[in-house]
Symmetry: C2
Subunit: 138 residues, 2 copies
DNA sequence: ATAAAATGCTACAAAAAGGTAGTAATTATG
DNA sequence: CATAATTACTACCTTTTTGTAGCATTTTAT
């Protein structure tokens, strides 16, 4: 598994919210639309609130909205928040092989590909996603 | 986690074997050198045998050796074998978001970075690793 | 032969991830 | 004020992954 299921759910939710134009997204709606297990989703949403990506409002007509500008949320941030900082910087040969022999022999060979991936994730915000989505549609 | 622990172990083992020059690698040696839990490693090695990367010989003086030329084993193959074919081709927004809206809005933006990563993994063999390792040392 | 050094196999335990259920707290609306 | 709609919290269950234990089997060296 490249990313955990929970991280995929998180990206799904944020991507969905970023590409629509409602002013409130209740858990139940997201559950229906994205087919993410109801209760599990609820916990995920709470978690995403605590992490500052979205904000919740309780009570009738409550739900979730973005807590910051779409342009201020990029994919690397989300993945970091969900998987831990190391996830993207990990040595593909495992720490052991990497540390034992000092600089992991593959770091050079891979750093290009890896850093390109990392840059792409860092440089792509939810605003970019929204823009692309709306353009592709119209 | 980007790759499962077991996959990292597998890469560690193969990388270790590829960069040394013994003609036999018993599990116990790999356990000592790589600090991978003894019994878990044993199962992993059996698994790697069944998958055709290495071959085992039992009995005294037994152990593991590569089952094919180093140049015939690349990193993509190992990752595929350990994580399943889909691991590298997965849609980062999760299948749901991807399918609901037909072509996932991000596929274009990411396909570059992702395919570069995939190519690198496919084009890098254990022979390349060995060569680089021995050059860096000497 | 026998003992030592290996792998193969099977069953189980522990930890992490994923998923379910229900109650409490909060808020808008009639 | 009462009710309905909503999030917050807590506890528990299931599945997958990781790790442990031990015995059976194979091979080599003495």
């Amino acid at each position: 598994m490249i990313l955990g299921k929970t991280t995929e759910y998180a990206l799904s939710v944020l991507a969905y919210m970023a590409t629509r134009s409602q002013d409130m997204y209740p858990a139940e709606l997201l559950h229906r639309e994205l087919k993410i297990p109801r209760h599990y989703l609820r916990r995920l949403l709470t978690d995403l609130s605590k992490k500052g990506f979205i904000a919740s409002s309780r009570g009738r007509n409550g739900g979730f909205v973005f807590a910051r500008e779409l342009s201020m949320i990029n994919f690397a941030q989300v993945i970091d928040a969900m998987e831990g900082e190391e996830a993207m910087n990990i040595c593909l040969l495992g720490f052991t092989a990497c540390i034992v022999d000092k600089p992991c022999a593959m770091h050079d060979l891979w750093s290009d590909a890896r850093s390109k991936m990392a840059e792409t994730l860092k440089n792509t915000s939810l605003a970019d996603l929204r823009e692309k989505y709306l353009n592709d549609k119209g």
